[in-house]
């Protein structure tokens, strides 16, 4: 009970703080009517954000796997391609990558769809982080699990299939759910490549209605609706899957 009251108090303080900031920023009375008339466009943008994040994450899971396998490859050239890609991604802001991808790489490969350029850019970006999640999860498999599989006569395939893979899956689920949150948040940067996702549609309405603070309130709530359940899912998975080797 005490915990719940503390939680409610914390939420109240936070909302009051947010209202204070919003009220200071609002020159006139709060008015969402412009956003009401554009609700279909905004909703479309919101669903585009969900769709682009989902597509990007699914692709990123494979990009990450390919990058991880390249890193573990016997061929040094594949190892270096993977490492160079990761170094570039880790060292460059997503917004810069998004602009370059849209204006130059998309053009070079004749990809006109903003949606797909955006999703592929996100997948290549998030995939680099997911490659490291795989690496960490495989390295977390205790050496004794590999030794035991070897001792009992498992083949390399059987070791991965029955011993390593099931343990890696449980190990990567929480960080993967975390990466999905990251993907949703990162997708906002695709507004810079004029993709019609959530932030961009809100920006468009803002520019015609001049109701900027209201737009930011909607955009914050819109992203939180998507990310809060994911953050809770990560915490739940971490709690549930936290077993000792």
């Amino acid at each position: 009970m005490k915990k719940k009251l503390s939680f409610a108090a914390a939420i109240l303080i936070y909302i009051m703080f947010y209202i204070f900031i919003a009220m200071s920023a609002l020159e006139k009375n709060i008015d969402f009517s412009a956003y009401q008339s554009y609700y279909r466009v905004i909703l479309n943008g919101w669903f585009t954000t969900i769709a682009i994040s989902l597509v990007a994450l699914v692709m990123a899971i494979f990009v990450g796997l390919i990058l991880y396998l390249m890193r573990e490859s016997k061929f040094a050239v594949l190892y270096y391609i993977s490492e160079i890609h990761k170094t570039i991604i880790f060292g460059t802001p997503l917004v810069v990558i998004a602009i370059i991808a849209y204006y130059y790489i998309g053009d070079a490969f004749n990809v006109d769809s903003k949606f797909w350029v955006g999703a592929i850019t996100l997948a290549l970006y998030i995939g680099a982080y997911i490659a490291d999640i795989y690496k960490g999860a495989v390295e977390a498999i205790h050496i004794n699990q590999w030794q035991t599989a070897k001792m009992f006569g498992f083949t390399r395939y059987q070791t991965y299939r029955y011993v390593v893979f099931p343990q890696v899956i449980t190990g990567i689920l929480p960080p993967l759910a975390g990466q999905f949150t990251m993907t949703i948040k990162s997708s906002a940067l695709l507004a810079y490549m004029a993709t019609d996702e959530f932030l961009n549609t809100i920006k468009t309405v803002q520019s015609v209605s001049f109701r900027y603070p209201e737009g930011f309130i909607i955009v914050t709530i819109g992203y939180l609706i998507l990310t809060i359940p994911l953050i809770m899912l990560v915490r739940m998975l971490e709690k549930k899957l936290n077993y000792k080797v």
Binding site: G153, Q158, Y243
Partner: protein, 245 residues
Amino acid sequence: MKLKISNLKKCYDQKGVIENLSLEVEDIQVLSLIGASGSGKSTLLRLIAGLESFEAGSIEVNGHNVVESEAVEYRKKVGFVFQDHNLFSHLSIYENIMLVLEKVHHRNRTEVEPEVKKLLEQFGLMEHAEKLPHQISGGQSQRASIVRALSIRPELILLDEPTSSLDPILTHEVLSAVKLLAEDSIDFIIVTHEIGFAKSVADYIVFMEEGKIIEQGDRNILESPKSPELKRFLSKVLTFDGGQM
């Protein structure tokens, strides 16, 4: 068992841990390797298991020439009990046993079920069969590891200090389980610090120090050691009095 080791040499980082070691025994059921930590006894056991390669010499176990890179089939005939049980952490005790039997030994689940249940019963694990390794005690895990090694009907079982990470009560529990192997006339080699236990079950005892065999013979060498090294070692260790599980 029949064991013939000739001029064996094993190095880690160019430092010799087994130096020119030779050992020949025949018609013995229980061989015990004793010695202080770092004496090379666990390394020797792993070499006998075909888990690691060696620099020079040869190992012959029951007519099998043991070479790590070619020992896949040999290892399938040898049960191994590791220091830290090494059960597959994502599988229940029952599935730990079944996975090896089904996937490596291609045994039919329904056919082996009665056999596995009998072993679990014999080692007092039936009520824990569906639990994950982290849900049972260290002693129970180690007994489960023994059952898993036994389930493949091995020619020989190798036990690498199965009680080293256990408290005295659990040590007693595990050693009593190992005693069951001796009573069932199963050949095994055990690396142990439990001198009283070695005395009560071993037909042949090998005492090692700094990668060399210092003294060997039947259990009488523990009553009347000849070498000053074994005398010194025995004066420092605790004893096990046998007993019930």
